[in-house]
């Protein structure tokens, strides 16, 4: 009969207490694993979501003239030739990039009707609405020969859905009004690319191409060499902003994991200390029949090892499965299953160390007591 044997029998005899200890480890490790896996999943979800938001790469014509407007205001009425992107640029972009990138090319021009100038923006609504979820259109999305107008324009000219706008070459029905965005969209007339080409007379070229790429830096470095006549730039406000949000989330979940780890260790220490305390009498008996201090400590540490490893492995297994169940409630794309072996190892080792320390220290204090004292202990 070895000490391990005694330890095992001890655990078996006191089933209730053993289950209690196992449950403690199980709960602590299970909770920490669940939270970690959940926060990883949510972080990825956030990252994915933010990277799909807005145009994060812009391809604009390289001009030798400087733009003279800012925030929708202009400093001079001087007109200058607006440079455009060659029609081949879009083909090159399509060739270079796969289908994972949303490409939203635009034709932007103007129409003058009796001293009133309209800004016509032709775009592919399917692509555009994917990357601009803040565009809310009351009414319908325009087909060819139909238009949607910005809120400012609608209220200035008192247009409503169903009215016809006269652009000189013909009348076009307003099928929708875009809700106020606060940006330059509020003064625009939106239509399909084909209609915009007819209205503005821009036959082949593009005014601007906006892209949404998962990895904007990579997309820029892919496109810049092949599009030498255009400016390809990352929209740093969006890119830096989403990076910052994701980093914040990381550090948020990291500090919480840390706090949870500390709390878990405390719970284990309190529980185990209580357990050893109850066994003072038993330890006294063992001493009385001739066990050495060393033996008792080793016996207890075996028990602690069995309980902590058993409980924490169980907790870890449950902890990696719970997020799969909770996932659909919290994130859009369900959390994929991953073993998170590093996390598991760290948690099992951590609970082993905490368990051993929490068991040995009170035991050592107890067995230092005089035998008589120990046996008097109830």
């Amino acid at each position: 009969m070895t000490l391990t044997h005694i330890a095992l029998q001890n655990l078996r005899r006191r089933t209730g207490k053993t289950v209690f200890l196992l449950l403690t480890f199980f709960l602590v490790v299970g909770t920490i694993t669940t939270l970690n896996v959940l926060s990883l999943g949510m972080k990825e979800d956030l990252q994915k979501n933010l990277s799909q938001y807005g145009a994060n790469v812009v391809i604009s014509p390289r001009s030798e003239h400087l733009n003279l407007s800012y925030g929708g205001l202009s400093v001079s009425g001087v007109e200058y030739e607006v440079k455009k992107l060659n029609s081949k640029v879009l083909d090159t972009v399509l060739e270079t990039l796969g289908s994972s990138v949303t490409i939203a090319p635009k034709v932007i021009g103007s129409v003058d009707v009796s001293a009133k100038r309209y800004m016509i923006i032709g775009l592919d609504f399917n692509q555009e609405l994917k990357i601009k979820p803040w565009w809310k259109i009351n009414g319908k999305i325009p087909q060819d020969n139909q238009v949607v107008i910005g809120s400012q324009l609608a209220s200035n000219l008192n247009f409503q859905i169903g009215d016809m706008i006269d652009f000189g070459q013909g009348k076009y029905p307003v099928v929708g009004i875009m809700k106020e965005t606060g940006g330059s969209e509020d003064n625009g007339v939106f239509t399909t690319i084909k209609t915009a080409r007819v209205l503005t007379g821009i036959n082949m070229e593009w005014s601007l191409i906006e892209l949404n790429a998962q990895d904007s830096a990579k997309t820029v470095s892919q496109l810049a060499p092949v599009l030498s006549e255009a400016n390809v730039t990352e929209v740093t406000q969006l890119v830096q902003g989403s990076k910052e949000s994701v980093e914040r989330f990381s550090s948020f979940s990291w500090s919480i994991s840390l706090a949870m780890g500390l709390i878990g260790a405390l719970v284990i220490i309190v529980t185990l200390a209580g357990n050893v305390n109850d066994r003072a009498r038993e330890l006294g008996v063992l001493r009385a029949i001739g066990f050495r201090q060393k033996h008792i400590l080793s016996l207890l540490s075996r028990e602690a090892t069995i309980v902590s490893i058993g409980g924490s492995i169980l907790g870890y297994f449950v902890g990696i499965f719970v997020p799969l169940l909770l996932g659909p409630l919290l994130v859009q794309n369900s959390i994929p299953f991953a073993p998170h072996l590093g996390l598991g190892t760290a948690l099992v080792l951590g609970s082993l160390v905490v368990g051993l320390a929490a068991m040995i220290y009170p035991a050592w204090r107890t067995i230092k007591l005089d035998l008589q004292d120990a046996l008097r202990f109830i």
Partner: protein
């Protein structure tokens, strides 16, 4: 000697036991309170930081519109100008504390090397706080250009062939290029020259004129619609709009954070409930022998359960209160440090009530069954319990 007396003495006699029980309740309550309050403040902190990342309110003159989209301008009509006096007026709105950054701008054009360029007069301190994503060659973080220094958008630098430290003449004055803003993807910013606001106002001979105001408002406690409505009331001559671009992604992110914080609080609450319940169950179980003795000397079941409940309530009351004080205190003192945030954790006395209540309910619920089954045991059996 009443039952309550026995309970109290019991707690006192078994000091270590009671202490451990109080400790486990305390840890449960303290950790829940700490994480709950800290995560709530973190949520606010994140929202505030996101709100300060770029502007979310734009104030323009009522008349005048430019037809430009994504930096492609197709037509213009010049608008009126705003006045610097508007800024103190903005600060008189009811929710003035929500206005984090106000960056007034004056626009002007100038001929430089035969090309006309857009000059944007800005208050550099405010502007750089707003445009946190600007990477500027030649300007260290925390530095602010002086009155005779300018910042160039990347396209301006390319077209005019300028580099940092060079001297440029604008409107008859000499300026030093302090830095070049790396490409931002926004044509407006990449093709503008940024100059100190008062310098430009003096050069233009319009000492109080501004063209537009970009502002960032904290909208965690006060929705942006409310802030813009209040601003509109105070500034009838201007057009105040909320920028949907920044708002929606912010809402999305903040929503995720708060969801995460709720999940954490719930999971932790369940776990600490379990821990407290488990400790209670095991501590009542240990008393089986005591209960046997009491039964043997003639106590009724009802008395014993009453006594146990008193004991449990006493312990959980103390544990709950200390736990709340500890959790709240730690959160207020160290929460901002641990979470690396600027928002302070507020004192929430109502949580004390919830903490003690939760501790009481969980402990009592957890001790009902073991207490009941112990009293039902034959006293002889109970006395054999070891």
């Amino acid at each position: 000697m009443r039952l309550s007396h026995i309970s109290y003495e019991n707690v006192r006699r078994r000091k270590t036991r009671s202490l451990l029980l109080i400790l486990s309740i305390m840890i449960g309550v303290a950790s829940s309170v700490f994480l709950f309050t800290t995560t709530r403040s973190m949520e606010k902190d994140v929202a505030d930081k996101l709100d300060q990342f770029g502007s979310n309110i734009l104030i323009l003159p009522e008349t005048g519109e430019t037809l430009s989209f994504g930096g492609v301008t197709v037509g213009t009509s010049q608008g009126k100008e705003l006045d610097m006096a508007m800024i103190p007026v903005m600060k008189t709105i009811q929710n003035k504390e929500t206005l984090a950054t106000i960056s007034p701008k004056l626009l002007a054009d100038a001929d430089i090397q035969g090309k006309s360029a857009l000059i944007v007069g800005v208050d550099f301190t405010q502007e750089l706080r707003l445009k946190k994503w600007w990477k500027i060659n030649g300007l260290e973080k925390g530095e602010v250009p002086a009155a005779n220094e300018i910042l160039l958008g990347s396209d301006v630098a390319r077209i005019l062939n300028l580099s940092p430290q060079q001297q440029v003449q604008i409107k008859g004055q000499d300026f030093r290029v302090r830095g070049i803003i790396q490409p931002t993807g926004s044509i407006e910013n990449d093709q503008a020259i940024f100059m100190d606001l008062t310098t430009l106002q003096r050069a233009e001979n319009k000492p109080t004129a501004i063209s537009l105001i970009e502002a960032a408002a904290f909208c965690y406690t006060c929705p942006i619609e409310e802030v813009t409505r209040q601003l509109r009331e105070k500034l009838p001559d201007a057009k105040v709009t909320a920028l949907q671009l920044t708002l929606q992604s912010r809402d999305d992110t903040v929503q995720r954070f708060s969801l995460f914080a709720i999940v954490i609080s719930v999971i932790l609450l369940i776990t600490s409930g379990f821990v407290v319940a488990m400790s209670m169950v095991s501590s009542v179980k240990e008393r089986t022998r005591d209960i046997g003795v009491l039964r043997a000397i003639g106590f009724r079941k009802q008395h014993i359960i009453q006594m146990l409940f008193l004991e449990v309530s006493f312990v959980s009351l103390i544990g709950g209160l200390i736990g709340f004080a500890l959790g709240m205190g730690l959160a207020m003192k160290f929460g901002p440090l641990i979470a690396q945030m600027t928002v302070q954790v507020p004192w929430q006395p109502m949580l004390a009530l919830y903490s003690v209540g939760a501790a009481l309910v969980v402990s009592l619920l957890a001790s009902i069954y073991p207490a009941w089954s112990a009293t039902k045991l034959d006293p002889v059996e109970a006395l054999r319990y070891f």
